[in-house]
Amino acid sequence: MSGVRVLVGTRKGAFILASDGTRVRWDISGPFFGGWEIYHMTGSPADPNRIYASQSSGWFGQVIQRSDDGGRTWQPVGNQFVYEGTPLPHQWYDGTPHPWEFKRVWHLEPSRDDPDTVYAGVEDASLFRTTDGGETWHELPGLRGHGSSSAWAPGAGGLCLHTVLLDPRDPLRMFVAISAAGVFRTDDGGRTWRPANRGLRSQYLPDPAAEVGHCVHRIVLHPARPSVLFMQKHWDVMRSDDAGESWHEVSGDLPSDFGFPVVVHAHEPDTVYVVPITSDSEHFPPEGKLRVYRSRTGGGEWEALTTGLPQRDCYVNVLRDAMAVDTLEPCGVYVGTTGGQVYASRDAGDTWTPIVRDFPPVLSVEVQTLR
């Protein structure tokens, strides 16, 4: 019997929403780590009972939690994220130099093959890796060592490395995305990196087509076609057909091309989902209507998905890590909001039902499909 586990990180703790494959009735467990911010919680593709959570607090710093039994019990593992060396300062918001300071782990990306290997994207932006189940973490210094890092500047959420994509066909290739630096790609397992931002244009930069400095909010790939990437940028929805060598805009007929998350349908590499937000200052949906937009053409042409979602007086946001898909048939799509709702669609977005309505603000949503 198949099932689904939805892992929800919120401003005040973590929750696990579990259902069988029908995705009709849900069991809610949590809060785990009550009172702490859970920026991300995700399971290992190699062992679904292995789950990692990034637990942090402005008061008490960073903790990494690990579960070996599907989230029933947890143990804190290593929380030392020590930068290697002392590269030149990055830029502060006003362009002045600012030293690197570790603040928190934004995103955990477990290896597809080894439950003990996990990548961690952190603020201030860098990439760390553990190969011992989270006990020790080591920086991949080639990323920050890239000659451009002294020009990286924080976005509104901080200078964060928030997305890590592992190429399923090439174990040496990875992509990361940093706000506000852009996309970087490695083809040698993380030793060296190069910017992958050609085609992006950002009006807040002195040179709108600069090599780095773009506030990329999220990138995603489909495992069956890893050379095609989709991006939700600060403004603009973008697509690359050559593994990040170049990008072109596919915002098309969206009501706004500002937003945070972007995901791809589990079985249709050209079916893409975004959640348009009014603007960079008005972080709520246009017209007070929460609409997930779906393109079945790989971008350009979009349809509003509204059935079951609030269509009046709705002023929540959906953050970059708060939308995910399962791999059942039909594909399930899940969205968590800053208003504490988690909506699920078990028909690829055609209709939506709230699983919960009153959680703390949702920071992240991940889905494990259990078979």
């Binding site: 009172g35 702490w36 402005g58 008061w59 008490f60 710093g61 929380n79």
Partner: protein, 98 residues
């Protein structure tokens, strides 16, 4: 024996109820107490002070016998009442909303 009161978030993280009681070798200082605390509860490493520099985290405060000891040097002796266990060292998360 030295008594330490942790904030609720750290009590749950360390899975302790009530006060923590510690034996400290040598003079009772902030550093010695935090060293003993982290030895007993390794999960607290990094939550009160930077693990590399030893600097107190900005939103962590140390109080005892109605005094704010947060800005005392880490190797300064703690008050006699704390050193003898008559009064606890209070570790407090600063009031900062949220």
């Amino acid at each position: 024996m030295i008594r330490v009161v942790l904030p609720a978030h750290l009590r749950s993280l360390a899975r302790v109820d009530g006060e923590v009681r510690l034996e400290v070798r040598g003079p009772a200082t902030q550093r010695a107490v935090l060293d003993a605390l982290e030895d007993l509860y390794p999960v607290l490493r990094g939550t009160l002070r930077d693990p590399l520099t030893g600097r107190r985290r900005a939103l962590v405060r140390f109080y005892a016998v109605r005094q704010d000891l947060s800005h005392e040097p880490p190797d300064a002796p703690l008050p006699e009442e704390v050193a003898t266990g008559a009064e606890p060292l209070l570790i407090v998360g600063a009031i900062a909303g949220g």
